[in-house]
Symmetry: C2
Subunit: 146 residues, 2 copies
């Protein structure tokens, strides 16, 4: 079981974007420098994030990206959905076509249930919350979560 680094980068980048935005667009170059993620790779990710209605782009000098919605309305599962193919753990159940395997899918219910749990959990976390946590981590001492 594995989450792609693509998804991890996307979440990190979104937190960083939200953390350093004060109304003005944030350029990918800045995020790239701060998070040590290759600029061209970030560009790829943000194309998808834009298509997923997570961010808006502003072109030209002084341009960059803005949140498409308030951070409290952006859920982590939406970020990952934009960037990855699917959150559901097994191939047989594409959300579009449903499950193709009729009979032998004894274990189908297991994977389906698991997929639902994963989504529920990630949907329960907002970008707002993550950003707040990041703030308290950098300002306060190193470990503050527990």
């Amino acid at each position: 079981m594995r989450m792609s680094t693509k998804a991890q980068y996307a979440v990190r980048a979104m937190v960083n974007l939200n953390l350093h935005s004060d109304g003005a667009p944030v350029s990918l170059r800045d995020i790239s420098l701060r998070e040590s993620i290759s600029l061209t790779y970030l560009e790829q990710l943000f194309v998808k994030l834009r298509r997923g209605q997570i961010v808006k782009s502003v072109r030209g000098p002084g341009g960059g990206y803005l949140l498409a919605r308030p951070a409290c309305e952006i859920q982590v599962d939406e970020i990952i959905d934009s960037v990855e193919e699917s959150l559901v753990p097994v191939a047989c159940m594409d959300q579009k076509h449903g499950c193709l395997c009729d009979e032998q899918c004894v274990t189908h219910n297991v994977w389906q249930g698991l997929g639902e749990r994963i989504r529920d959990f990630l949907a329960s976390i907002t970008l707002e919350e993550l950003t707040q946590e990041a703030k308290s981590m950098s300002s306060g001492s190193k470990k503050r979560s527990e």
Copy 2:
């Protein structure tokens, strides 16, 4: 996010093993035929399942595999653990070493929480339950789950 087919095969094979065991060992050849999984691939999986204390092997003619414990004491997460590297979704947190990334891991808590949810869910399902479900599916009509 994706669960490897290896894990899926392992769970299917274990259900099939439990379904057709009546005290005597079940050979991989039988499981291979019934589940249409290559024999040599099954062999790979069962080596790991044996090391994971999920099954016991009996060599020689009439040999095969037996459950190492009663089915009600075998949890799905244990099956997957034996066969896959880790259930935790991201690389940075190996259960052995803990997380290596100190500061920048704003999203660390997210993945850790997710990993716990996944484990909790899969640990809540036993091989016994899956086998019962499989029985009712094959004896009853085709769809009985809902």
